[in-house]
């Protein structure tokens, strides 16, 4: 039970706005000590974990290309593209992206989106321009945050329909540990109702952005 102190340290540190990296180290130290790990073993375990998770940082390999393209106008081009489209609104743009992201993730094409490769250079500026274009009540920060959120939501509630994704394989492994028969196909089919719910709930939310805007401008007129 003492190990729960580590969560207290984490939350308190983040609330107090101490540098998050330092807070993470402090929380790891608390968890390790609470569990009675000797300090040197804790250091070695953290070192091993840090090294084993280097691949998480490897996604940043794409930033030189993204940086070069941005220097040559990629973000501006994404905005120009929006200005050329009639009838595009923030809600419609994000709804279309949500649907596309769910469908492509469901057939295993999870890499087609992503925060570094898609949202920062393209979807974010597009959302900003679309919101600007029709006098939105949504400021630029909010439009970009919604773009990032839509990418995550489309991915999370699409990818589990694909058979060969990590979470399905994990579930299969755990269930077989209990002697349960686990068909990946059955697991993936059970992800479909939730995917539909996500499209309705989040899709409805982003489309409502347009309605609010239109009724607001209607009152003004």
């Amino acid at each position: 039970m003492l190990v729960l102190l580590a969560v207290v340290v984490l939350v308190a540190g983040l609330v107090a706005r101490i540098n998050p990296l330092a807070v993470v180290l402090a929380s790891a130290a608390t968890a390790g000590l609470a569990a009675g790990l000797p300090l040197l073993e804790l250091l070695a375990r953290f070192g091993a974990a840090f090294n084993a998770n280097k691949f998480v940082t490897a996604v940043f390999l794409v930033i030189p290309t993204i940086g070069l393209l941005e220097r040559h106008g990629l973000q501006e081009r994404a905005k120009q593209l929006m200005r050329g489209l009639r009838g595009i609104t923030l809600g419609r743009l994000l709804f279309a992206y949500l649907l596309a992201r769910q469908l492509t993730s469901a057939v295993g094409l999870t890499q087609l989106g992503g925060q570094v490769t898609m949202v920062r250079p393209m979807l974010g500026p597009m959302a900003e321009a679309a919101a600007e274009q029709d006098g939105a009540q949504v400021d630029a920060d909010r439009a970009k945050a919604l773009a990032a959120a839509t990418d995550n939501i489309g991915l999370f509630f699409g990818e589990d329909i694909f058979l060969a994704i990590g979470s399905i394989l994990l579930m299969k492994g755990v269930m077989e540990g209990y002697g349960m028969k686990a068909e990946p196909f059955a697991l993936s089919m059970w992800a479909v109702p939730t995917a539909v719910a996500a499209l309705l709930i989040h899709g409805g939310r982003v489309l409502l952005l347009d309605r609010r805007r239109k009724s607001a401008s209607g009152e003004a007129a």
């Binding site: 190990v3 729960l4 540098n19 998050p20 990296l21 330092a22 180290l25 790891a28 968890a31 250091l43 070695a44 375990r45 953290f46 070192g47 091993a48 974990a49 840090f50 084993a52 998770n53 280097k54 691949f55 940082t57 490897a58 940043f60 390999l61 794409v62 930033i63 030189p64 290309t65 993204i66 940086g67 070069l68 941005e70 040559h72 106008g73 990629l74 094409l109 890499q111 992503g114 925060q115 570094v116 898609m118 974010g124 945050a145 919604l146 959120a149 995550n152 939501i153 589990d160 994990l170 755990v174 269930m175 209990y178 349960m180 686990a182 059970w190 939730t194 719910a197 996500a198 709930i201």
Partner: protein, 312 residues
């Protein structure tokens, strides 16, 4: 066979390049510590697999100390401008190299998985992503006729803007491992055992789904939360006692966990990194944008499991 070593060598070379261009071109007072930070990360990528666990632990702490010292940061903004004109000049072709990265990554993944013996199947995705990034960089350099160091200078501009957020996903993943080793999952699981559901199926389903979300919020990863919650409630109670469909209990439980992922700063790569990438004023802006959807989806998952997962 080629594996993650190739990705680590590429990443190590990139961060080493960031350190060099920072040391060479930056003259402001934050330049030196920033160069040191990128150099240390390069060291971790290039030598991490050879120096041993203890040395990696020390290296991780030194990296955090430098990154948290307040002496690192972006260079003073130098607005060279001209992006509007460039955008009109290059047109929609600008999207092609950006889309080439995922296209090459996908093609490579499919190729390496269907033709065994070139790249380890488990590493095919990351290796292909690394190759896609490299190929796309070369295409851009040729197209824009840039100098050799241009990709590094543009890349480090983005990296400086990200700052500490660039390390957060890796550190949090490490924290999750320490939490798991320290028994965090079982501690939360036994805490949930004390909740009285009064034998009501709906209350049990709700507690199971909310427990998945809560544990994911704490550990930052639904995959870490799933074995704990499935052991605590899923298998013994919902499947064995209540005769739920095992696949439904597992799959919808996992998706309830994903609702937690949308709510937690612990899932830094999905929530904190984008806020930094998009220069949001509020570091929790993405979480705030996701919260209404996440809570509604948690409710939806509880209802879906309750109504569809149990034969009555």
């Amino acid at each position: 066979m080629i594996g993650l070593e190739l990705v680590y060598a590429l990443a190590g070379a990139m961060f080493l390049g960031f350190a060099l261009v920072t040391a060479l071109y930056r003259r402001d007072r934050k330049g030196r510590a920033t160069a040191l930070l990128w150099g240390l990360i390069a060291l971790s990528f290039l030598l991490g697999d050879t120096i041993g666990d203890m040395a990696n632990g020390v290296l991780a702490i030194v990296i955090v100390v430098v990154a948290a010292s307040g002496r690192t940061g972006a260079a003073p903004a130098s607005n060279e401008g001209g992006q509007e004109a460039a955008a009109s000049r290059y047109g929609n072709r600008l999207f092609l190299p950006a889309l080439a990265i995922p296209a090459i990554a996908l093609a490579g993944t499919v190729l390496f998985k269907s033709v065994p013996g070139i790249v380890k199947a488990s590493d095919a995705t990351l290796v292909s992503l690394g190759l896609g990034a490299l190929a796309s960089t070369v295409i851009c350099m040729v197209w824009f006729r840039t100098r050799a160091e241009a990709p590094l200078r543009e890349g480090v501009r983005l990296a400086d803007g990200l700052g500490w957020a660039i390390l957060m996903p890796q550190l949090l993943a490490s924290l999750g491992i320490i939490y798991a080793a320290a028994g965090m999952g079982t501690a939360v699981g036994s805490l949930l055992d004390h909740v009285d559901t009064g034998g009501s199926l709906f209350a049990q389903v709700a507690l199971y789904c909310m427990g998945m979300a809560l544990l994911t919020v704490l550990m930052g990863n639904a995959l870490a939360a799933f074995p704990v919650m499935f052991a605590a409630m899923g298998a013994p109670l919902l499947v064995t006692v209540q005769h739920g469909d095992p696949a439904a209990v597992a799959a919808i439980g996992m998706l309830a966990g994903f609702c937690g992922t949308l709510l937690t700063p612990m899932a830094a790569n999905f929530n904190l990194v984008p806020a930094a990438l998009l220069n949001l004023r509020d570091p929790y802006g993405v979480i705030r944008a996701q919260a209404p959807t996440a809570l509604a989806m948690l409710a939806a998952n509880i209802l879906l499991l309750y109504f569809l997962g149990f034969s009555r």
